[in-house]
């Protein structure tokens, strides 16, 4: 049965049919041209015709057999299969959408490698930059998402480089920034957490200026001006990045005013 349904055998029969029909055409032409006499023509034509008829019957038989052997097409099953494929494709599409994120400079369109701490710190900075942009747009939720990504990235840095003071400091600072954009009850907890990260950074590297300045800001906000003054005094001015200078000057003024205010109040 399988052999009789073989498409290759059917193709061979079709080829033979084409050959016989072509031969009949050739025979007519040669007879018309007088190259074949009438007796030969009749004999050959009968032979070709009989063979062609046999082949044509065989082809019809095989086609009929193939048609009857096939299971009837089930439109219901086809529809179900198409639906399953469509649902799966949509599902994968949705998951790929969920798994995508904005492409950082230098990043490929897919996949990623394990970054070293320097690259991860750059990536975290990009997330905080995105958060700032989102805040400027008034998109608080977008900003929060970006800050969370920054925190996750700093955690990755600390995983491979546990004594990385930059990651500790900026992780704390990002938490403090979130605190400034949240309600008072949650803010207090977040500020405490931020303070712990800054303490940890200063304990690891007492000379790291950024951590000292950020802690001074937290202390100023808590009206602990003496502690803030101590941290500012400990800052090595040669290490202060230029973009922080205005911030430090402002904090210093506040702290001096605060120290003056409290001493005059006590006096």
């Amino acid at each position: 049965m399988r052999r009789r349904l073989d498409p290759d055998a059917l193709a061979a029969l079709e080829e033979e049919r084409d050959f016989l029909l072509r031969s009949l055409d050739d025979l007519e032409r040669e007879h018309d041209a007088g190259d074949v006499d009438d007796d030969d023509y009749a004999e050959l034509k009968d032979d070709y015709t009989a063979r062609a008829a046999t082949v044509l019957r065989a082809i019809d038989d095989r086609r009929a057999l193939a048609t009857s052997a096939r299971a009837p097409r089930s439109w219901g099953r086809t529809a179900v299969a198409l639906c399953v494929v469509a649902v799966l494709a949509t599902g994968v599409g949705w998951l790929v959408f969920r798994g995508s994120d904005s492409r950082a400079p230098g990043q490929g369109i897919s996949g990623d490698t394990r970054q070293d701490s320097a690259n991860l710190l750059l990536e975290a900075q990009q997330h905080t930059g995105q958060a700032t942009q989102a805040l400027q747009r008034g998109d608080g939720q977008g900003a929060l998402e970006a800050y969370k990504k920054a925190i996750e990235t700093y955690d990755k840095v600390l995983e491979i480089s546990p004594r990385n003071v930059e990651a500790m400091t900026y992780r704390g600072w990002v938490i403090n920034t979130i605190a400034t954009n949240t309600d008072a009850a949650a803010a207090s907890q977040l500020v405490d957490e931020a303070r712990q990260w800054l303490d940890r950074a200063i304990a690891t590297d007492p000379g790291y200026a950024d951590a000292r300045v950020f802690r001074a800001i937290l202390e100023r906000n808590a009206r602990d001006f003496a502690a803030a003054q101590a941290d500012l005094d400990a800052v090595d001015t040669s290490q202060i990045p230029s973009y922080m200078q205005n911030m430090i000057d402002s904090v210093r003024r506040d702290v001096q005013a605060g120290v003056g205010g409290s001493s005059s109040a006590s006096g």
Partner: protein, 679 residues
Amino acid sequence: MNVALGRAGVTLGLAAAVLGAVTVVYGLVRKKPELVRLSRAYSVLVLLGGVVAFAAMEHALITRDFTVRYVYDNGSTKTPALYNFATLWGALEGSIILWGTILGGYLVAVVVKFRKRLDDPLVGWALATMLVVAGFFFFLLAGPANPFESVSPAPGYDGPGPNPLLQNHPLMAFHPPMLYLGYVGFTVPFAFAIAALVTGRVGEGWLLATRRWTLIAWGFLTVGIVLGSWWSYEVLGWGGYWAWDPVENASFMPWLTGTAYIHSVMVQERRGMLRVWNLSLLCATFALTILGTFITRSGVLESVHAFTESSIGPALLVFFSLIVLTTVGLIGWRGDRLRSPGRIDSPISREGAFLANNVLFGAFAFVVLMGTIFPLVIEAINDDRISVGTPYFNRMTIPLSLTLLFLMAVAPVLPWRKASGELLRHRLLWPAWIGAAAMVVGVALGARGVGAVLAFGFGGFAAGSAGRQIVLATRRQGWRGLVGRANGGMVVHIGVVVIAVAVAASGSFVRQAELTLEPGQSASFAGHTLTYEGQQVRDEGAKVVNQALIRIDGTGPWGPSLNKFANGSQTIGTPSVRSTLTDDVALSLIQVPDGDRTSITVRVTIQPLVIWLWIGGAVMALGTLLAVFPGRRRNPIDPVSAPLPGARAGRGPSGREGVAPRPGRADVDDERDAEEVPV
């Protein structure tokens, strides 16, 4: 001279391919076998054109002939000999020369193999298809990607040399040619698939004619991918071997569909089923090789809009579309003839398992395709530059991989048509015990997490199943029990299991840290002690190597370095890896001593069993080689499927080891389903 010789080669290849395709098609349509037989001469001329172009380019590179545009752009007097030779496939235009030359080689190999059937329309149409593909690639060389443009360099000019990353490890000399042998090799079965559709001979004849070609192409692609990830591991220095980046995905997608095809083709050979599916898989595999070339070579990765400015992007996209449209059109045209008379009797059968395997491989390829092209589509639509990260790929592919591993254990022991519960219990008992033992050993060694534990368990299960098949086959047939598609396939399965376990172990237990060390200082990390001995700076001509000498557990010193290439602006790191059978310690230098600072910062990545990835790859290559050899000829009276109930008594002379069948257990021991007719 090199320019003239190279152009002559390209022109010869292009003319021979175009004239050959036209002549053969004319001969086939007009039924003129003498014209069809001319494919032999045209194929030889295509190869000759490719070889001349290849030789001219190599000569130009070796003699540093900067009047050739490609050498001007990619050559340098400072490039070491091996990398200078490999520069031919280091950039777009040169890689097309390699493609054309390899395709010429395959053309001649097909002509030689089918020398007695050259006027057979099936072979004729296949050769015509291959000549069209060759014509396309030589057209690229003649126009959009012409490497033989003539330039006039300034006196004393020295080129930039190849990308520094491409002259950092000897694997660069072997990985791309292997990959291309795989990519281009799929042209042969694709061409026969097209020929089968055109001639209407869509039965099993063309499959039998091409199955060894398919295996060879698949084997080369496998080796190419494994070498690629080895190169990535040894050169890129991020501590991993697979990052799901678009270049890796481009080679992986055709491998997935090709793997699905070499399984499902057995269902068609044995049961005459899945004809449309097999043709679609094969054409998809070839189309994906072109899509992969488009993704990696058109500039689309830099920007979607860059590809229209690229010389080659639009041509590749048009060719890809042509392949898809032609294939879909031909399958639609032959649709009625392709409908299979049979159907799968039971899902618990060999064909049921192959179907499940194909669904999983198809889903796997779709997942990778979506992850790769989704960012391109989004960028094309609204200019958003997004990236699909590794978590998506891992989340989607780990469950698929585990299911495939499970299927790999079960499928080889299943008979055709249907299987009884008793048979499965009997055949899977020992593999299941091995799987359970592997799981226990994995947990005892520290495996944690469902994915890793299941990978150990299913890996052991699959290895037990493949091992059982090999033992049975070698008992029955001696050394011939190792060769042939089914037996070689089991060796491939063992290689896959080794890789799967290595991936699970290395991915789950990776430990990474950055250590800052002063000269003479030691640090311990993840059970290893690293001692920084000192720094070494040397000028190697092509690059200045700034190397740190580090002892790992007293061995070495190992020398990760930062290299400043003479003509490159960036500093490229070269990691140093200490490989043992249990784990790898990979060191990448991040910071070298500078000014007052005498310390270095080194990234240490420790991963278990990484070396087994390369060993697994070698086992897969060996298995493919064994599978290509003819296996045992199937006895004509062997059953092709599970015998009908009540027809058990009359076992043929090929009964297993001459053991008389036990009542009620005959089907349990019947392993002959695994045998294959020779190719």
